[in-house]
Symmetry: C3
């Protein structure tokens, strides 16, 4: 964590920006780059009776780090995706609680 789950953006685009993006996100969070994951979901989307391109969307799963960090985090992702040619960027944050998160069987609020 943080874990970026991405739909509607070609994995090649995500790969291309991943190196610069993870460095800046690690700066924003003050943590190492090895805490991050960037996962692209395979989706098929529908609208108005037709198959359509999936609308670009990033869900960020993390432990809450406050509004300032969240704003900068979203700004950083947005900047990189717009620069990579994604026309619109929507990002939602999903907050996991430390008492509901386990690493190798250990609850995070007990670590």
């Amino acid at each position: 964590m943080p874990q970026l789950t991405i739909r509607g953006i070609a994995p090649e685009r995500v790969i291309a920006i991943s190196e610069a993006l993870v460095r800046q996100l690690a700066d924003v969070c003050g943590c190492g780059t090895d805490n991050f994951t960037f996962d692209c979901l395979q989706t098929v989307s529908a609208m108005d009776g037709k198959r359509v391109d999936t609308y670009p969307f990033v869900e960020v799963a993390w432990f809450e780090r406050g509004m300032q960090t969240r704003d900068r985090f979203a700004e950083t992702i947005t900047k990189h995706l717009l620069a990579a040619g994604v026309p619109e960027v929507e990002i939602a944050f999903k907050v996991y609680s430390e008492e509901g998160y386990y690493i190798n069987g250990m609850r995070c609020d007990a670590l």
Copy 2:
């Protein structure tokens, strides 16, 4: 948003109902049809030592709109999926907060 993320239902079925469904959901929410996304996830499911069909499931990600709208929203999806031959329909609502949702870098509670 609202964003429907669907598993266990063939994309062709979702495509087939998408036109009528989005119109009725937009009526329920009192918003335009262009706010909606219908995304089918590619999954492989397991049970009892075998690969099995994925159980049909819809997760609706949205900003909370209250019980009455939620009931009608779920009823509308259910009706269309049952009519399309899906035998059982389970729907869960996942609530995003406006302060954790960003469009082109702008936080939604600030828009």
Copy 3:
């Protein structure tokens, strides 16, 4: 529900452990095995400018059952995945509310 959504672990591994795992999880929850779903997501992951293997991750979607059950639930999944050769196991619980969950159009808090 509970619904396990798995990424970064080959479906074959999940299939191989699914029979023993679902029995033990049903024991932990005191419910039938037919309440569970194990769904593997298809993902493409990126890091440092390269495509990489997806980091193993399990999201458990359920109605909250309390810390003791949650601990045992996570421990059971972890034990099976480590035994199946997954090197590290991270599990997050996502809590659905009964008032936002619908089965065939009926809200779960009304059932």
